[in-house]
Subunit: 279 residues, 2 copies
């Protein structure tokens, strides 16, 4: 592919080959329209473009968009849902948060619950966590044999390839934060009485596995960045940058899809006559 000039997607897409996640600066702000205030304002200004593009996607009813969000606790998946997915129209958008599998989910293939949440034609689906949890948590905590999780990367690529063939455009954002940023955010949850309910002591315990998570995330972006379903590594230490960047990635993607209103063959003069008063 020719490089896209000024495209945020080309700036944030995972480079081919061996990935060194430590080399991606989580505090960076590439192509940001300004500092914090200007960038927050630019994020809100996405709303009009997104609304128009989404309306056309919905009217066209041929394709759909899947936005996958991954990242460690406090990386900002929920924040992106609020501040970016919240800019979209609720009638054309579904949000699914994938938590620890329920007994029913665990009794099925790991893609079972994913397939049930895929977007219908014309819709945008956002996943807060996804099928990628199934190559992260079991790998970090060694809850299933390596042979089992290791084959999932190919399964995921095949699944996403078929999904793409059926008309779903896939956008995957890995929200990348530093170890110190996670500490700050966990402390902030403790400090703020309106955020304390989100706090689980287990979140601190999980920090002991930080390096193992980095290994698992590295394998995820390295093994599953494909032409039809690339991973974008979004620097997420700055919430204002993270929100703008995911919004811009979605906007660029929808603009490239360029959905069209369906042609109509309405006999306009006759219909207008039928609606003339007193009818």
């Amino acid at each position: 592919m020719a490089p896209r000039q000024h495209s945020l997607r080309s700036a944030l897409a995972v480079a081919p080959g061996t990935v060194n996640l430590a080399g991606y600066d989580s505090g960076d702000t590439p192509l940001a329209p300004g500092k914090k205030k200007a960038t927050e304002s630019a994020t809100l200004q996405h709303a009009d473009d997104l609304a128009q593009l989404q309306e056309r996607l919905f009217a066209e009813r041929k394709r759909s968009l899947l936005l996958v969000l991954q990242g460690i606790d406090t990386a900002g998946k929920g924040g992106v849902i609020s501040h970016v997915v919240g800019l979209l129209g609720p009638a054309g958008t579904t949000v699914t948060a994938f938590k620890k599998p329920t007994p029913e989910e665990a009794a099925h293939h790991f893609l079972w619950r994913i397939r049930r949440a895929l977007p219908d034609r014309g819709m945008i689906a956002a996943f807060d966590r996804s099928h990628y949890e199934d190559v992260i948590v079991p790998r970090v905590h060694e809850t299933i044999p390596q042979a089992e999780w290791a084959q999932r990367y190919d399964e995921i690529n095949a699944f996403e390839s078929a999904l793409s063939d059926s008309g779903t455009v896939i956008v995957k954002c890995f929200l990348n934060i530093s170890y110190a940023t996670q500490r700050d955010r966990l402390l902030a949850r403790l400090d703020d009485p309106t955020k304390r309910w989100k706090f689980r002591e287990g979140d601190i315990d999980e920090r002991a596995y930080w390096s193992d998570y980095q290994v698992a995330y590295t394998a995820m972006v390295q093994n599953c960045s494909t032409e039809v379903a690339p991973w974008y590594i979004v620097p997420s230490d700055h919430k204002w940058y993270r929100n703008w960047a995911v919004g811009e990635i979605v906007r660029e993607t929808l603009a490239e899809m360029d959905p069209q209103y369906p042609a109509t063959d309405l006999d306009l003069p006759r219909l207008a006559r039928r609606l003339a008063p007193p009818y």
Copy 2:
């Protein structure tokens, strides 16, 4: 109940007894904070209150809110979803548009598809059409015997009463427009190339049944306004009033529910120590 001073809900709630829908002025704007511009601005200002109340509802995870929207074609159900439900957080909100029943839906009791779309604890669900379609369309078009649809009013009241007992607060808004307003909106759809895809000639055909629809809507609000699930008749000829009013009804309802953050028994000093650098 004592009258609620300055409550929009008490102003728009269906009065007990026999309803005369023709007596409800669809162009009225009771308790509006101003004219068009001021009212549109007030609608946007609902966002902060709604976000805070919804966050508390979500954190509390004990109760839920169901917003039912009914109204004839072009009354503005979709507009309310965009402009009011769009103010809510997408992670805590589901939107379901009930269309002509699919073969699978038609093979079940009419409440089957409704039950599947009810809000989980902590969530807000918005219904674009609802179980009330099943006492409107079959009644207007006489597709099922009267004995069958006539018993549905009691069934619906029993269903909503049980739902309320289980912790779901129910808000039902009938978007009331005039015959002339519907004409204007259908003509606007024909005129605007970006709206033409929504136009169906069947929408004009249905206008021949206008009076029958008014009869069916009258029976709906008269038979199914209960203490736990009142109907509000929202004057909807002015889109700016309709959006503000539904937003205000939802805001009043959530404020009355007054959801609370759950109490936590976190040992804050110990947890903060666990998070001290370098950990």
